[in-house]
Symmetry: D2
Subunit: 343 residues, 4 copies
């Protein structure tokens, strides 16, 4: 029975990368229930390969953060919600890179938080993946210090075509998802995105092998990914802001500025979602979320900042969140993974 | 000689309204030096006509804030700057409207500053234009109080197609201009917008008969406009953020959140502009701007907030700002207006 | 009759300067109706006297921004509002200074908006007062450029002891007033401050000979002042946030971060004040203020940022604002000034 | 040997509560190395005891959030840093309370984020402590739903007298510590606070039995505490912003608005601390922190918002942080706890 789940592999050519959410032609059409494996290039479009490669020299805005997609999901209509379950998210290379980009990052003036000061120096760090220990190795540039971080791969960017006829650059996170940079978008998680256009047109990319909370310098440990995923459509339910679900928790991502507005969006939305779907009163839910939230800062560097409100399910009434899609997709994922291991 | 300046009148049909910056086909092609007269519908797409018309009942997002355009300007290439000189900005009707929109405005929670509170009530106010006194009349809804504001017409929205392949909703202000809601965009002013795509593709709309600083409730005294304008192209100079010029002052509009970032953008840009074009040192210019700025808050309600840094020319070295285009276009404007009056 | 108004002159010794709002012993007791003339030292405590005096070398935090006061106003009790009418605000010297302070100002990272970048260079500019033309002369440091700004003297700092047992540094603006840096606090204006402690304990200082909107570099044209003022007490009315009144307008100062919260405070408070005192409905007032406001950015550099909501009286119902104290104090001021001129 | 560690118990009378940081007389003097056990009342000053007790009816601002202290630490001088090691933090009651307060909390307009909307309803929830399961029980008000949260007690408020002659209300977090509301201030943690006045004058209170990230509704599960702690002084080192240390991590708390400024303060400070104390370059440290941070949002409701930058020590060079005080105090704590258990 396991063998019956076909996995279609999709590797875009360089010319096929998507640089926007919305406004790009579909790379492929997929059906609800289908399983695909996609390759995503790193956010540097693969141009940074050594410490000598400085971002401003080898990368060329806006050709950064290439997305694999968009995928036209059959049956997805405006007003529905697309559920993307990440089955497996694996580094596609044994190295990754991080850099500083002039006037980008949380601890510097930027193109939006403009100041008259000189930018910080540009640097590139190359990380090695150590499969044996499931870690990535950091080597300081200015000293002998080295250390390792656990490999915690996820997609910094995943989104659908925006509403209101908009086309957004792939560096932007907003209500359509996009460059949220949340480590919660990892294998085992389901990402729910409200559908704004026929087919939803979702893309993903920006593989991170690991990242600290907030993506402080603006850049994670960036690497290409091989990712297996499957999709479903929640008909007639519209997620105004991105929702996520893991086995343990439900989440909402809010992305805007200032950072407190990202927090407000995420937490208002999760309160309203819980209240609506469980029947708890809004005030009881507000209280419950206030004590239960295990929320995380995603990014404080992108065009909008992102906070992910996260509430463990064990503190909540037991209901089938989003029509119970997550456990169903988890089961399919288990079958896929079992089949892959048995190969 | 006056008669030689032809004024082409362009009135879009309802189907021709533009709902985005970028992503729309040109309504017309115009040449540098050409003078056009355009009609712009009000931000409600003309649907609010009495106090009984509530925004949420008669308007349908995203079909709000229709723009007249886009105009393809011949010779405008990415890296250039488009100069739009507003010759005449006249109310096209003898009435205008303002409303409160649920979860929109500076003194309420919004879709971005989300809270769990109930929205404010929805109301509509109809203003009468009094040509004799050049004013608009306010009538309170809940009492007999009435008062008048001076007629100070301007365009809340004017912009070009964005960079980085983006298409933005007409309610958004950013580096491409857009829904800045600054009263400085009035007759006699030149608006400079960096060109991102061939032809620049500028549009305008959102006529305001008058407005307070900050557009506090989110909505000005909104009305249709007949506007006469002319354009030029500054070759090889790119205005990163919108610049404006009047006879008395140069200005830069910064639009982002939080509001201090809008302030920082506007003032950093004007310091760098002045320093670069006059040869003053950056620190001397920083000091000069700190004492000379007559900046105004434009909006604290849109998707991005806007501040306009404004420095009177009389405090600055005498140079021909932006190649001296403004005085040249002023002269053309004077000829046009003289011809119109003589008709 | 004019001669009967006695003006008491108060010049603090250096040891008597106040460095806080709250927590300082009264410099003097004054009675409602009394007229005093005070000397205020500049914000550098007089230590910057030439271009060679750099802030970080000659000034010693927290001994900056010395205030003259506090004054114990007889009869002022918590729950009342103190009205301070500025009769005359005159430069006490024929020169003034401005500087850049490391990590202070709107266009640099600061102690609160921390970044890893190097600070901007430290500079000092000395301005000359030209009484003949009522202006101050700017001389560039790095070139021959010079220009003049009109002399527009005001007090950057004026406040009372805070509520909730707090003592605040004189660089902070908040609901107790303080370092608001609004040019509206000039001769002819009445400043209303809610009284938190017996006697109100108001102080003032931080004379500015002129300043741009926002005090961009963090420092105005700073100079010592001779200021004539008189006070009254509004019994039983508490101004939650500082109010100001001129012959033409009523105002509220909001001071907090981010800047939109300063805007929200100022405008919410002025809407509520107008609605309460005129009987207009809150929604009508919200609409009215949205079109009538002529608000100004005060500072975007202090510990809290300040916006002053300003509504011209001519757009409002005619009522005696704050018990009609302002016109009464204006009359007294006129008498004082007439007497002084006749000397 | 264990018995030689004396634990002095200090229980303030109601009249002895401190309502400010700074400006209060010492409750007691303690010596470095001394161990004390203190009782802290809940943030409601004990006035909320049932669901019928609404905050605005029974509490009286500013008599909220009573602190136990201040303690004068012998030998602590301005320029030093006080190290407070929390040995044991235990609920002093078998119940706790949470409430909604009008115009306070993250998902409502507030006294600083002012809007014209109606406040949310006022509610009180009483939680039961279940010692057997180390949890607190939530009971919905509007339905039968109940759930439990793990007991995770900590002090929401801990701080010293501020710099610059300031006295701050106990609801404020800033560089002196104060109402940071971070769950990291729990048993086993050392809190480092820069000393601004002789004796440091530290206080603590605001016991939380548990709390979600961000303290969304503005109020945690609030309860009285019995807390055992010991102190040391780091001579000649000044922590500009509060530092924390656990066995696993070092941390810095940043508290300001907007929330990104709290993030910037915390992360800039931890980068500079690590770089300075380990000898790593600033840019290498910036990169390291960007991938290593496990930072948490503390509060998005107080007068300033708080983010705690947190870096696991295992990712960093092995050095004795803050003179190795934390492990030394841990050892003393172990001895104290062993002695208490043996009683």
């Amino acid at each position: 029975m396991i063998e019956t789940i076909e996995v279609r592999r999709i590797v875009p050519s360089e010319k096929q990368y998507a640089w926007t959410f919305g406004g790009a032609d579909p790379l492929a059409r997929i059906k609800p229930g289908e399983v695909i494996e996609v390759f995503t290039e790193d956010c540097f479009a693969g141009r940074i390969r050594s410490e000598r490669d400085l971002f401003s020299k080898v990368c060329e805005y806006p050709y950064v953060n290439p997305q694999t997609g968009p995928f036209y999901v059959e049956g997805a209509e405006p007003g529905d919600t697309l559920a993307i379950h990440l089955i497996d998210v694996q580094p596609a290379r044994d190295w990754a890179a991080s850099v500083t980009v002039p006037l980008f990052g949380a601890l510097t003036g930027t193109h939006y938080t403009q100041t008259l000061q000189d930018p910080l120096p540009e640097k590139t760090w190359i990380y090695r993946v150590d499969r044996a220990s499931d870690s990535v190795r950091f080597q300081a540039l200015d000293s002998d210090f080295r250390t390792s971080f656990p490999l915690e791969p996820f997609h910094g960017t995943i989104g659908v075509a925006p509403a209101a006829f908009e086309v957004r650059n792939v560096l932007v996170p907003e209500s359509f998802g996009g460059n949220m940079d949340t480590p919660e978008a990892k294998a085992g998680a389901t990402v729910y995105l409200g559908v704004n256009v026929p087919g939803a047109l979702f893309s993903l990319g920006d593989g991170h092998y690991t990242m600290g909370e907030g993506e402080t310098c603006g850049v994670a440990v960036e690497g290409a990914m091989n990712t297996v995923l499957t999709v479903e459509v929640v008909k007639g339910t519209f997620a105004e802001w991105p929702r996520l679900e893991s086995d343990e928790a439900i989440m909402v991502a809010g992305s805007y500025r200032p950072l407190e507005d990202a927090f407000r969006i995420a937490h208002t939305q999760i309160v309203q979602w819980i209240a609506k779907d469980t029947g708890l009163s809004v005030m009881d839910t507000y209280q419950l979320v206030s004590q239960a939230a295990r929320s995380r800062i995603a990014n404080v560097c992108d065009a909008n900042y992102t906070v992910v409100a996260k509430v463990p399910k064990r503190f909540l009434p037991e209901i089938p969140w989003m029509n119970g899609l997550h456990p169903a997709m988890r089961a399919r994922a288990a079958a896929v993974m079992a089949a892959r291991k048995s190969r």
